[in-house]
């Protein structure tokens, strides 16, 4: 009853206009997208642009503090920390994006089935997810990597498995509340089978909250991958990776060489921060109701 008479709405905008509108309306989103673009840029072009080979050692130039030549200083075997931090972006982002994509797809399929049909698949799925979530998730990931073997693929699988329950539960709830919505019933009357109603009518409506989850999860996944490397699982030295770099640099903090651990740690923090900020903006972009 409090509906306010709207001015005649402007012509429907295209998707790109809408993206620009969202970015313009919310400066935080704009910053997040700019930082995200920077991360993507360093992941794609970083290895080609960095001043030094990230693996080249130079014993005579070890443990130098940050300077004009070496912006982030050098590590104990004389490798340039700046080059290593930038190059590591590609690996860390790939791991997290792959893991999140995997858990998004698997979680969505399972959640859709459970939320739409209910009954025993729902009960089984829920107990299964409860079982996964009953473990401390990082310990579970450690266990999976230790059992399957110390490879990057296995880090991705482990990260995907521990994140999957969040997607499955979210999708289950979103699908469940829309299962009997008028538009779903109308879609059946238009000749859509249950599967089509679910995939083309109900699931897309679950996307806005999913986007928030995706972006938060990207941050967690990066932390998780770095954490596994930090304790010596997954990526092995001398590969440039933020977790390993922090782990190696930690030994030198007591003796005053702080730059070894601080810069990779800072980049890790920036990446996680970016993804956390990104969520709201992504949701606004995929939600047609935000368009005017």
């Amino acid at each position: 009853m409090t509906e306010i008479p709207l001015q005649p709405a402007a012509k429907t905008q295209g998707s790109l206009d809408h993206v620009f509108y969202v970015l313009k309306a919310n400066p935080v989103t704009l910053i997040a997208f700019a930082m995200f673009a920077l991360l993507i840029f360093s992941a794609v072009f970083g290895p080609a642009l960095v001043p030094y080979d990230p693996l080249a050692t130079n014993a005579s130039n070890a443990l130098q503090p940050p300077s004009a030549a070496h912006w982030f200083g050098t590590d104990n075997v004389g490798r340039d920390v700046f080059s290593r931090v930038i190059v590591a972006t590609r690996l860390d982002l790939s791991i997290s994006v792959a893991a999140v994509a995997l858990s998004f797809v698997v979680g969505s399929v399972l959640g859709c089935i459970a939320g739409y049909w209910g009954g025993w698949p729902d009960i089984i799925l829920n107990r299964f997810l409860d079982t996964i979530m009953a473990f401390p998730l990082f310990v579970l990931a450690m266990g999976i990597v230790a059992a399957l073997g110390n490879t990057i693929e296995n880090i991705i699988y482990a990260t995907a498995i521990i994140n999957m329950p969040f997607y499955a539960r979210l999708v289950r709830a979103e699908v469940n509340i829309r299962r009997d919505a008028g538009f779903a019933r109308a879609a059946k009357l238009a000749g859509n089978s249950d599967l089509r109603v679910l995939a083309f009518h109900i699931f897309p409506n679950a996307l806005p909250p999913m986007m928030v989850q995706v972006s938060l999860n990207l941050g967690w996944a990066i932390l998780n991958a770095a954490g596994l490397s930090f304790i010596g699982l997954g990526v092995s030295p001398p590969t440039a990776e933020w977790g390993i770099m922090v782990a190696e640099g930690a030994n030198f903090i007591v003796s005053g060489e702080w730059w070894l651990a601080v810069f990779p740690g800072l980049w890790l923090m920036i990446a996680v921060f970016t993804f956390n900020l990104l969520g709201d903006g992504l949701r606004d972009i995929v939600d047609p109701r935000k368009r005017t």
Binding site: M1, T12, K188, L189, N205, P288, R289
Partner: protein, 546 residues
């Protein structure tokens, strides 16, 4: 009688993404002691905002821009928030639209009444319980002692609204603002609640403001009516005078659009839009026959018999009304007929074949899917928020009609013209359309493939009366033009009478009466139909019929 509440040039504005929106533009009125004032208007007219402004509970972004509001010498616009807290509930109290949303779902209703009493120091820890029970008894709740311990979800909608009344009246306020108190309640419950509220107001010599979209309801219960449109008062006066001789064109339009005895569907429209009413052709052939249809759900406490063996038939081109209150099984029946749900037993003979044999799950692939379609109750809920109007209408054309893009485009434009939807709106999303436009999209989708049988599930329940008038007329025109057969499901006998040739009245899963619409309306056989007819608000008849 002196003025208890006086409002002068009140203006309220909201700050939105598109700049400032004026919701109320300088209105002035007075409420005298002991008077019931009705504020009538359609959605967006600013009637609820006015009451929120008086209580100073405007949503975020809303501010009182100008004007004065004085209640017994207190300046409501400038009073401090802590003074307002004392005024709310003790001096002025409010009944909200949705009783279930207004009650705290996890607190016993008795405790919720105590909260108000204790806040205003009307009760102490020791006598709060007794006073709360007395308040429940005042709103005529049977067995108040036991209901004291009930949670809102254990009570029916009408019962919840009585609890809300009990809370609002617990501290003997002098002014009661009722904002659409009976929207969403059944018609018999509406009468019970409204009668109760009126009796209590008279008994306690209170004043009241009744905010409603239903001019008929306001006419029956109010001493004086204000008609609002776009934040302004366009007319005010005595209910009978407004009904018999409305001065402003807008109030005339509202009066015309209010369904009541002795009107035709065309006379709901403003005189200049009426035109002649088409005569539908009712064939002799039976299109649909329902035999002994039953539906039983497995409930938590034993089986629930939603539909108990009903039989009826619909002829080619006929419009049959299915009337009943919530829980009577009318929605279950329509879901079974449209093949979204399987019946427990019984036959549904459509065009000579029993379609109840085809499971609902596989009916999407059935050849008769396109012949049986439905217009849903809530147009907003029935449109996919991610699809534009064009995509929504194209869905059946592509899926069932197997049309190519060029054909689809042409057909969509043809349909949009048929239902009166401007072509420029086709690329909008549902949230960018008004209620009436959404209803048109829903109707266009339902008739896209020229169905033989259309189920209309309260298609106008969520619409304003003037838009209801337009949509009802559209449905009448379409029926005559396309030779459709309708099953019109509704709780409102007056609306059903306008459209239907034949009426079926359902109660508790059984048919209590059926017959020609005129007979059932003018000479009801069953007691239940009589109750239903008696409960409907009776607006004064129009003096000048044009």
């Amino acid at each position: 009688m002196s003025a208890m509440l006086s409002v002068k040039n009140l203006a309220v504005a909201f700050q939105t993404r598109r700049g400032q929106v004026d919701a109320v533009r300088g209105i002035s009125f007075e409420v005298s002691k002991g008077e019931i004032l009705g504020i009538v208007g359609e959605s967006g007219s600013g009637k609820s905002v006015t009451s929120y402004a008086l209580m100073r509970i405007l949503d975020a972004g809303g501010t009182i821009k100008a004007g004065e509001a004085t209640y017994s010498g207190i300046d409501l616009r400038r009073a401090a928030e802590r003074d307002m807290r004392d005024i709310r509930g003790r001096e002025i109290s409010m009944i909200f639209q949705n009783p279930r949303a207004a009650l705290n779902p996890i607190r016993k209703v008795g405790h919720q009444i105590e909260d108000v009493l204790r806040h205003h120091a009307r009760a102490t820890r020791y006598d709060a319980r007794a006073k709360a029970i007395a308040a429940l008894e005042a709103v005529k709740i049977n067995d108040a002692e036991a209901r004291y311990n009930a949670y809102p979800f254990e009570l029916s909608g009408g019962m919840c609204q009585r609890i809300v009344c009990a809370i609002a009246l617990a501290c003997d306020p002098r002014l009661l603002i009722a904002d659409e108190p009976t929207t969403g309640l059944d018609i018999t419950t509406q009468k019970a609640v409204m009668d109760l509220v009126r009796d209590l107001i008279r008994e306690r010599e209170m004043s009241s403001i009744l905010i409603t979209h239903d001019l008929g309801l306001a006419a029956q219960y109010c001493d004086r009516i204000l008609v609002m449109k776009d934040g302004e008062i366009v007319e005010q006066g005595d209910p009978v005078q407004i009904f018999t001789d409305p001065q402003h064109p807008y109030s005339r339009k509202l009066v015309d659009a209010t369904p009541r005895a002795g009107e035709t569907v065309r006379s709901l429209l403003p005189p200049e839009d009426r035109g002649s009413e088409p005569t539908p052709i009712v064939g002799d052939k039976t299109l649909l026959e329902v035999r002994n249809l039953t539906k039983t759900y497995a409930g938590k406490s034993g089986p629930v018999h939603a539909v108990k063996g009903i039989s009826f038939s619909i002829k080619q081109g006929q419009c049959v009304g299915l009337v009943g209150e919530s829980g009577c099984g009318k929605s279950t029946t329509s879901e079974i007929l449209v093949r979204l749900m399987d019946a427990t037993s019984g036959e549904v003979i459509f065009d000579g074949e029993d379609i109840a044999q085809v499971p609902a799950r596989g009916f999407a692939k059935d050849a008769r899917r396109a012949d049986i379609q439905m217009v849903f109750q809530d147009a907003t809920d029935s449109l996919n928020p991610r699809h534009t109007a064009r995509q929504t209408i194209s869905e059946p054309l592509r899926r069932l009609g197997r049309m190519r893009s060029a054909q689809v485009k042409a057909r969509i434009e043809e349909l949009a013209t048929l239902v009166g939807l401007p072509l420029s709106l086709l690329d909008r999303f549902p949230h960018q359309l008004s209620g009436g436009q959404k209803a048109r999209v829903g109707i266009a989708r339902a008739i896209a493939l020229d169905p033989k049988f259309l189920i209309l599930d309260e298609p106008t329940a969520a619409l304003d009366v003037s838009i209801q008038a337009v949509v009802l007329n559209l449905l009448v025109d379409l029926r005559a033009k396309l030779g459709l057969s309708y099953l019109f499901v509704s709780h409102d006998l007056h609306v059903v009478r306008l459209l239907c040739d034949h009426v079926i009245v359902m109660k508790d899963g059984e048919i209590v009466e059926q017959g020609a619409a005129q007979d059932v309306m003018s000479n009801p056989k069953s007691d239940y139909t009589k109750t239903l007819l008696a409960a409907a608000p009776k607006p004064p008849l129009r003096r000048v019929t044009n």
